[in-house]
């Protein structure tokens, strides 16, 4: 199993020379199971170029199903969707998986992302068939030969982690999430970092359950792609933003016995040189038991080795 990173950035796209090496597009990861299913995590601006490739290739076939698994609906994870070329081809079936209060509610939320007065065309203008699949907490389902399981994340208005297991490997996508220690993020807006006294026993219990579920899901996974938006200092200043540092990601990966950890959702203020330093420091956290890399836009990574593969033929 391989994954290709089309967008690795968090919050908003960051064009320009200082992000050329790691990439400036917002979140989008393509899973390439050996069995041929088309599975995508999130639809940040990175999905535009993936869509162009699919539209000219596999989606140009008489019928084609694309499954997009959404972590959540914050802009940096949905803003590329209307620019996904396969949506504009009649032969395609696009299945959108996410969490809301039911399939119809999910459709209504997504319809707001492409409609006047914000966007010139709407979902009814898309030529492909679009289906919405609402997921419950800790859902489990199959996409062809790929088995998918989910677990909730600690993020404002909630987010979902996905694990995909295929015949030749496994990948887990855990973006966006705060660690499970300082606060439980919910539906209300939190204007400032809370104190430890703000955490109730009920919150603590919920966080412990959430972390346990996430660690269980990550057990033995080949590649864990994890939100590491912050450095530790940045996290301490903004624990209520719903993002982690490499230290938090490493803790989960080590607990779960994951084979590889891939840093993801790079903050917009981290340029390429910052990223080099962040990855170098993070590598030391693996204690020789964990392979740590950082996601780079355009790279095709073998989940088993964590290495970027030379993919000239597959391109």
């Amino acid at each position: 199993m391989k994954v290709r990173f089309w967008g690795v950035r968090g919050s908003y796209p960051v064009p320009g020379p200082s992000t050329n090496r790691y990439g400036g597009n917002t979140s989008c990861v393509e899973v390439q199971p050996s069995t041929g299913e088309i599975i995508i995590f999130d639809a940040g601006t990175g999905i535009r170029k993936l869509g162009q490739r699919l539209a000219a290739g596999r989606c140009a076939q008489p019928s084609c199903t694309v499954s997009i698994l959404f972590s959540h609906m914050h802009w940096d994870h949905v803003q590329g969707l209307p620019f996904f070329s396969p949506l504009h081809q009649p032969q395609n079936r696009i299945r959108i998986y996410s969490s809301a209060h039911g399939d119809a509610h999910l459709r209504r939320i997504f319809e707001q992302t492409a409609a006047q007065p914000y966007f010139p065309i709407g979902f009814s203008d898309f030529k492909s068939t679009v289906e919405f699949v609402n997921l419950k907490e800790n859902a489990e389902f199959d996409i062809g030969a790929v088995h998918v399981r989910t677990s909730p994340l600690n993020h404002p208005f909630a987010a979902t982690a996905y694990r995909c297991d295929g015949p030749l490997g496994s990948v887990m996508y855990a973006s966006d999430t705060a660690p499970f220690c300082d606060m439980l993020l919910g539906d209300e807006f939190i204007p400032a970092p809370p104190g430890p006294e703000d955490l109730t026993d009920q919150d603590r219990q919920r966080l412990a359950t959430m972390q346990k579920s996430l660690v269980a899901l990550a057990t033995g996974v080949d590649l864990l792609v994890y939100d590491t938006h912050f450095t530790m200092d940045e996290y301490r200043a903004n624990p209520h933003f719903g993002h982690s540092a490499p230290e938090h990601a490493t803790e989960i990966a080590l607990k779960a016995g994951a084979k590889g950890l891939c840093l993801f959702h790079h903050a917009p203020n981290h340029d390429d040189d910052d990223m080099d330093r962040i990855v170098d420091q993070a590598r030391k956290l693996g204690q020789g038991r964990l392979r740590i890399t950082a996601a780079r836009e355009g790279e095709l990574v073998d989940t088993k080795t964590g290495r970027a593969t030379d993919d000239k033929e597959e391109r």
Partner: protein, 283 residues
């Protein structure tokens, strides 16, 4: 008066090595008046770069004041606003002018972008800065300190945009992104509005070839921008809002063709400003 380009790309940000020269950020242009008045045109992702720079001045201390003029509310013209650093500093004051919609007021449109499903900020009310929103329509006139602003409503596909003309002393700049002329014919009333501007920033989303199949989308070709500039006898024309799929080499080639087109139409005296991120001109 100084004009700076922070984002010149249309529709969706286009990061990557092949857009380094002209830039991949969506629309944002600033006009700085002779006495320092700051007017921001549109709030695409280019405004995030502007915001970082402003934070080292009065905006970082909650003493900043700016006016934001929005041509319309399509994502690429407002998507940078929640990431414009000065909005989080209490004490800063932002006055927004823009077009409402038949179905909703401008303030509600901006609020919609902050909907908790899509934004952790959840509401404009959670931003620290003081934000005032005014709606404008065709023919609105107002002043921002020493700058005089006037507006015209122009077609953009099935909707419309507001183009702004900003004047200070004897200098005038017109900002007209996302203009799509019916049947590709530059409108007389648009020409009258652009008349003898020192700088006309005009939509140039498509090459003439690409425009053919996309005429209904509400954008202009490079050739149409040249026609508008020559007919309005402007002093300089700036290209703007490049299609997201045009890499640097493509844009550079289209700009060579634009210069040639201006000359063919008798606009040899018109200076061509090749809009790119980071460029500052004095019109």
């Amino acid at each position: 008066m100084k004009v700076t380009f922070w984002g010149v790309r249309g529709c969706i940000p286009a990061p990557g090595p092949d857009t380094n020269r002209f830039g991949g950020n969506t629309p944002c242009v600033t006009i700085t008046g002779d006495s320092g008045t700051l007017v921001v045109l549109d709030a695409g992702t280019g405004i995030t770069v502007l915001g970082r720079e402003l934070m080292s001045g009065p905006f970082g201390k909650g003493q900043g004041r700016a006016t934001i003029l929005l041509s319309h509310s399509h994502w690429d013209h407002i998507q940078g606003f929640p990431f414009f650093a000065p909005v989080y500093v209490p004490g800063n004051s932002l006055t927004i002018y823009g077009l409402g919609a038949a179905s909703s007021r401008l303030e509600d449109i901006l609020e919609g972008q902050m909907n908790p499903h899509f934004s952790p900020i959840q509401s404009l009310r959670n931003l620290g800065a003081t934000i005032e929103v005014h709606e404008v329509s065709d023919g609105t006139r107002f002043a921002v300190d020493d700058l005089q602003v006037s507006t015209i409503e122009l077609p953009h596909g099935e909707t419309s945009i507001i183009a702004f003309r900003i004047e200070e002393h004897d200098t005038s700049v017109v900002y007209a992104p996302d203009v799509g002329y019916p049947n590709g014919q530059v409108l007389d009333r648009a020409v009258a509005f652009f008349d003898k501007a020192d700088l006309l920033i005009h939509d140039t989303t498509y090459s003439s070839e690409d425009y053919e199949g996309r005429a209904g989308r509400g954008f202009s070709s490079f050739d149409q921008a040249a026609t508008a500039a020559v007919r309005a006898q402007v002093r300089s024309l700036s290209s703007f809002h490049y299609d997201q799929d045009y890499d640097d080499a493509t844009v550079a080639d289209l700009l060579i063709r634009l210069r040639r087109r201006l000359d063919e139409l008798g606009g040899q005296s018109i200076t061509l400003v090749e809009a790119r991120e980071g460029l500052t001109v004095e019109p």
